[in-house]
Symmetry: C2
DNA sequence: CGGCGAATGGGACAAATGACGTAGTGCCCG
DNA sequence: CGGGCACTACGTCATTTGTCCCATTCGCCG
């Protein structure tokens, strides 16, 4: 572990990249190996390092919610094509669904943007060590989610999640039916069931829950 | 203008504060006068400086979307109680409604977080000079909004906006009526009218528009 | 003063939504 | 193999939502 750890910083906000780099510069055995503004750029950077036979960074510090390529997607791609690179998520969103998605896709850590320098350092060292680091708040939420499998989107069947996503896009039952190639009655059954499971009384509330759980992106 | 400009950095994300401070440190006649993690802290800091008869910062660089006290609120408070402090907004959200709200509440600038150091510098100098600096993208959106007054929340009456906000919280017509102390029929009239003005066909879509326009915060 | 838009409500009606019960089919797991 | 679950679908019914009329009351503005 006395070896220097190369870190690729991926965030669409220049200010955030600057802050992260400032954190990393203060660390002894960590070196910023590059910056990228989105998932696509990050992959391009890694690819280009590989063809030049230059060493890949050990860790990628990555935002979720980026243009071009979403953090979750990018994490999955990196895990698939560059398995020696550990991905640590650094984001302002603490949605359990996103956290789970990221971890399932191979993320080796999850930090919130209000993390201090020491937490970032800990996450990077953990990742370089093939451990997983979770922000305290993140870990707590995950634990809560585990403890209470009854409340929340996790209780939904995959089909119900499909329907919920469409509801959260403002579609009517008829439109949902057409989209999923089922009858409107079935769509209504799914909506009714998911409302029941989530303890809601209208599809309007379902939109909010879907947003809160990160099932759909907030509209831009 | 050779005088040093004091800047108060307000953001709930430590990483972002660090990045901004790094930007500011690189500038000659700018000095970081303090940091705060939310609007409340920012006001407390200013208040405490005032009672100690210490000089107030000329500029506050502030995020929107913070816990404790929202950026728009904080901007209004600062403009009211500390008129000598110029507030520059630095946020990742480009919603026209929020921009307008911030500017109407006395903001002296609006930057997006993908802004580079030079833009931050320009905004601070402009603010210290009693000018207003707008990010290029922000200015463009504002201009678009001005050019097309027909589409968008701007066409709504204030009462309709009230109703829309409640719709976007998942309330039923009956609940909205109770909340606003009007009859349910009137609530329905308002909903119907605002749907027409926005070109929508259901309240579910209205939720999305309200979010997109920043009329309500995305649920946490 | 006259008009105009905003806000308030009502009647009537059509459409969408949601709840509840029932049921066939397919699939996985013990 | 049998039970359970997900997915599909329908019938019925109550409620909500949304539309199109209309009317009244303000307050503001020319």
């Amino acid at each position: 572990m006395t070896e220097t750890i190369g870190v690729l910083v991926v965030d669409d906000h220049a200010v955030v990249r600057r802050g992260v780099v400032a954190y990393l510069d203060a660390l002894d055995n960590v070196e910023v190996a590059g910056e990228a503004a989105n998932g696509r750029e990050a992959l391009d950077t890694l690819e280009s390092l590989r063809v030049r036979r230059q060493p890949l960074p050990r860790v990628a510090l990555m935002d979720l919610m980026m243009p071009k390529m979403d953090g979750v997607e990018a994490t999955a791609e990196i895990a698939r094509r560059f398995p020696e690179v550990r991905v640590v998520i650094l984001t302002s969103f603490g949605e359990v669904e996103r956290i789970q998605a990221a971890l399932e896709n191979g993320a080796a850590g999850y930090l919130l943007k209000d993390a201090g320098p020491s937490e970032v350092a800990a996450a990077i060292h953990a990742a370089a060590n093939d451990d997983v680091f979770l922000d305290t708040a993140v870990a707590r939420r995950l634990a809560q989610k585990m403890r209470s499998p009854q409340s929340g989107v996790a209780a939904l069947t995959s089909r119900e999640r499909d329907v919920l996503v469409l509801v959260a896009q403002g579609r009517s039952n008829r439109e949902i039916a057409t989209e999923l190639v089922i009858s409107e009655r079935t769509a209504r059954t799914h909506v009714s069931n998911l409302l029941g499971k989530l303890g809601l009384r209208s599809r309007t509330q379902a939109v909010l829950v879907a947003m809160r759980e990160g099932l759909v992106a907030p509209p831009s």
